[in-house]
Symmetry: C2
Subunit: 337 residues, 2 copies
């Protein structure tokens, strides 16, 4: 192909090769430990082994880049979900913020319970009460306005135990895992039981996951022209619940292909892990984060009110999903400030 | 920053700069005409001007890469929609293929009309009849099975006028436009009134648009474990209609941010173009493909049964959306075989 005396071409090739060597060397160095907050225990080894085999060209388990879809639950998998889901803390604070315009709430449940800090009565209001709380605080405004409300709240709200902003209570080992997968040409998605519009405003900054790669529960919205300005108005009606058997449905609707790796922490993620790992391509990966560290975070599983891990833990033993013991497997829990 | 006598570093920089120059030169050449199938008329100039201003760093209208979302209608915008939507042709063929297992269809409308090729009676069955047709042919199987049925059908079906596979009747100028936008770091999405699972199986190969960047109408699906194999089963119930005022809703649900460019061809795209261009960022682009070429394709607008362009054409005159006159503005209609 190369003429014998084509000197300029030869020089070009030498320069390109030299540049390539210079560019690749630092990358290779940086990749010696892509998961520094993980102890050298079984889960880290399993993650690395999986990534290496699906990215190795020519390997029987090689998976092309565009099929490297990885899905992550959010509450309890990427950030803390105790003592209550952050979105619930948001809803309670919203009730307090909106209360001056709603004097009737002083005598109306479940708002009365919220205003009096009576969690027992609130819990007794059950799913119906919670739904009313969510609809009142999440609907009745445009999507743009809701995004602003969420962003403003997260800027000032603090977790009651750690006294830190919620967006700092994300797990450093999982942040590293997200980055490691993306460096290996995975596309990373959140698949949350929480509200899609509650997660989107901050997921890009905190996790590096853009809005179009967030799947979640949603309420209905309606297109409305307001004078000459188009808006999307949030209606107090459930559109989709992205939890349990809803997660594979949400994944199919949004992503349209089966993930090759799924990461969760509770029974709400069982079907997502089944859908990802059982049947289909040869190499699949399922992982559960098991909250075992009462000192650095929380310890809970089979009896927990939030993020119960019971059936999925039994399933992991049968299916071979990797179970992370947070206390033993993670050097560090939360990300650096 | 650079030590005065750091020769190795100086050499490294020179080599990198040389390599960069060598790498960039051929790209710049290739970009001299990114839209060769477009005549040098106003629409091409408007597209190029828009792309150049939003990608020019430091410009007041610069838009960062992650916000460069472009949305495309499919039927009539990216491929031919006459003499009927391709998905309807698919449904009619499916009825014929399934008929041997349904002897009762010989005497039941709207199936009888389909089997007898009686389009007039079929049309008279109205929305109810069409919905029944869609549910019968699109539901009652898993998502994986449906994908296979669509793929198999497209491999053999031929358009009645052009005698070519439907996936060859995509518009060459639009294929170039998609590629041009992606080369400028836009993320391109389909936002179709058609079925999301009807478009996904071939959109990546034909348009370079992956399944996760397809938004469309859908029926409900249900997660089911069949022995130890998880499946998604398609139910005969409408989930979402991604048309007219549904398009901004679908965009928000799937993408979660407002596009900066929208491309359509009918009144079904009116709200999508409004949502994209009215209010929000300084630089937005809206375009309508106007079917004006009865010789090379079809000519239709205000009175058409499929892809009616009436209100949106009036709106274009007021809002400044670009209107493509297919006959005058496109050198070539369909892509090369």
């Amino acid at each position: 192909m190369l003429a014998k005396y084509d000197l300029p071409e030869l020089i070009r090739r030498v320069i390109l090769a030299a540049a390539a060597a210079l560019l690749v060397a630092p990358l290779a160095l940086a990749q010696t430990d892509p998961l520094p907050s993980w102890n050298d225990t079984a889960p880290k080894a399993a993650i690395v082994a999986f990534v290496e085999k699906v990215t190795k060209e020519g390997s029987p388990e090689f998976i092309p880049e565009h099929e490297r879809i990885a899905v992550f639950d959010n509450d309890g998998t990427l950030w803390t979900e105790h003592p209550m889901y952050t979105q619930l803390a948001f809803a309670l604070d919203r009730v307090k913020a909106l209360a001056p315009d709603h004097p009737e709430w002083k005598d109306t449940q479940p708002f009365k319970a919220v205003l009096e800090g009576d969690m027992k009565t609130l819990a007794a209001s059950g799913e119906k009460g919670l739904l009313e709380l969510i609809m009142t605080t999440h609907a009745g405004m445009t999507s743009d306005d809701f995004q602003k409300v969420v962003t403003d709240w997260l800027a000032t709200a603090r977790d009651p135990k750690f006294k830190r902003p919620y967006t700092e209570l994300v797990y450093q080992p999982m942040i590293e895992l997200l980055a490691y997968l993306r460096a290996n040409d995975f596309k990373t998605f959140i698949v949350s039981g929480g509200g899609i519009e509650f997660v989107r405003p901050w997921a890009e900054k905190v996790y590096g996951i853009p809005p179009e790669q967030v799947v979640g529960s949603s309420i209905k919205t309606e297109f409305r022209m307001r004078d000459d300005t188009p808006t999307l108005y949030r209606l107090p009606q459930v559109n989709f619940i992205d939890d349990k058997a809803g997660k594979p449905v949400g994944i199919n609707e949004h992503i349209g292909r089966r993930p090759i790796a799924a990461f969760g922490n509770s029974d709400g993620d069982l079907e997502m892990l089944q859908w990802t790992t059982m049947g289909g391509a040869p190499a699949r990966f399922g992982m559960l984060v098991h909250h075992t560290d009462a000192e650095r975070e929380y310890a809970y599983d089979r009896e927990s009110e939030f993020g119960r891990l019971d059936k999925a833990l039994d399933a992991a033993a049968i299916t071979g999903w990797t179970v992370v013991d947070m206390k033993a497997d993670w050097k560090q829990i939360f990300r650096e400030k």
